[in-house]
Symmetry: C4
């Protein structure tokens, strides 16, 4: 089964998710700096989510590039990932509009955690289709970044109730870890 439409559909959904978040930036009525000020936390959470969705798009791009084909299981694993990502605009806005209060910050982390788990499942589905000796398997052999991210999310979610700021900084840390695209697959493909 061809992977082209899976890529096209995922690109479409990710492009929409990343763009509609900006609709949540309510345009203020007054043309003053004071009217813009309350938007700052929403804007900051928008920037963070934009980066996370960019990371997912980048990694998805690399992952599918290394894949030869997809099957029904992969299609559903991919839709499962898109489902959790589709909730990012909601959790982002809730977090921003409540000025990074504890519960919204925790829920933001839960959504990121579930998306990370879904990405992990998608990788497994692709590996089980391609076999242990495929280019894909060799390129992905140890998914260190993925495992570290899961650990950080699991730590950050309860931490949000003690210090939302620290939890938020852990989310930023995950983003920084991933900002460099997955060179492993790029290197493997080059050989």
């Amino acid at each position: 089964m061809s992977k082209n439409r899976l890529e096209a559909f995922s690109d479409g959904v990710l492009a929409i998710i990343i763009t509609i978040m900006v609709l949540e930036l309510d345009v203020p009525e007054e043309p003053t700096l004071a009217a813009l000020a309350p938007l700052i936390p929403v804007f900051l959470s928008y920037v963070l989510s934009f980066i996370f969705l960019g990371i997912y798009w980048n990694n998805h791009h690399h992952l599918l590039q290394a894949a030869d084909s997809v099957d029904g299981r992969v299609l559903w694993a991919n839709l499962h990932l898109l489902f959790w990502l589709s909730l990012v605009p909601f959790t982002t806005t809730w977090m921003g509009q409540n000025n990074f209060a504890a519960l919204p910050v925790a829920l933001y982390g839960v959504d990121l955690l579930l998306a990370a788990v879904a990405y992990f499942i998608l990788v497994r589905a692709l590996l089980s289709l391609h076999g242990q000796n495929s280019t894909l398997a060799q390129a992905l052999d140890r998914d260190i970044k993925g495992k570290i991210s899961l650990c950080i999310y699991v730590a950050a979610i309860p931490l949000a109730f003690l210090s939302p700021l620290l939890a938020g900084m852990l989310y930023v840390l995950v983003a920084v870890i991933w900002l460099v695209p997955d060179r492993r697959i790029e290197n493997r493909l080059r050989r």
Copy 2:
């Protein structure tokens, strides 16, 4: 006539439909669990519709994969299907915001029924273009799932006025029936 743009356009419309539903999840003002609670029925109906649209995307993917070409009739049959699917965000939100009241649950079923009929018409249009001896015709020879789905919808719609819960469970049953992608076409293509 090439099927590429029909696939691309359908992917675009389905990606938008599946994603804009999340805009209907009104972000609550308070950062509390109590403020999230009223969103639960809207969220559940969002999950159900996400799965239905995922099923349509999957089946559409498989169907067009088996098709060689399209004509004007297929283009319009496809737009007709997209029309009914484009109403899913409306019926989903109405059902969720009214906590699965009778009329919205029935209307949700009517929309699913009309989408199923439109899919059936699209399959006929493709079959009439490809002929009875095509790969497509062999792959689709008995559309049992499609026929069962139509029967369940026809039963569920009036049932919604007696028990919206039972009707809702029938919709879930249809989703479960379809969650496994159509192996027939995959198998046929593999031979």
Copy 3:
């Protein structure tokens, strides 16, 4: 210059335009038929616009299928067409929410007229690029439907101030004329 991205971008914009119109169908608060009733004119105008956008997508598909390449002039002629089509959700909702009052019906026609003129300009830009002896030129030699549509719009717009119903029926007439896709190009390509 390759026509692929022009097709992909146009598909994206048309898919979004056709889908966001449904966001204008305000979900009623009550789960009753009485609450749905006021939506009927908005729904009817949505159906009409869905068909018009489907016609544009179909014709655009056929037109670009017959084209070999595009240049900067074609890109801008295409963006010009997309601009007028992007206003369709606005004019559709204004017409529907005001129950087909004179001015909104006239403005709806003005937007359709300007889109039709933009399509005409796009065809000219493609013809001037491909030359008088191209497949495209042969396929399009007399654009009777296009000319009739322009005449009907020019008649319908002032008529809207006398009888919005008659003007609306003229718009429906244009849709009916175009509902059959442009066989000329299909036939020409088949030879």
Copy 4:
């Protein structure tokens, strides 16, 4: 690494940005010309932003057409560009709804300036990947339009606080400069 998905994703995001701006044109309640009048500044700012986004799409199209491949740095430079463009609907609406007041006009220019800088960075990232002797490098050798645009933005932003009208006219001037697509790349590819 293939450039196809980068093009597809960028097309998706640009198509959505260009289209959702029209959602900010609030549909007036009354079917009268008087009710349309307050929308004129929002409409004018929509037209200007539509043209700017069309210019970016055109130039992006030309730029990627001349590129052979992309790497991780290019992907992020591209996402950075899309980030600033994604804020255009916000700045456009704020500027239009406040009837071209000083601060919104300045912020609109800041967003355009940052998008122009991001485009410049994207060009550098592509050049560093393709080398100084590539078709791309030859096609882009002196980016005069880009440099003039940056200068005009830098002048227009403070000017907005003295005369928003003059600043707005400078933005229009940038649009006029770019409206002709970049013939250099077209010419280079033709040879």
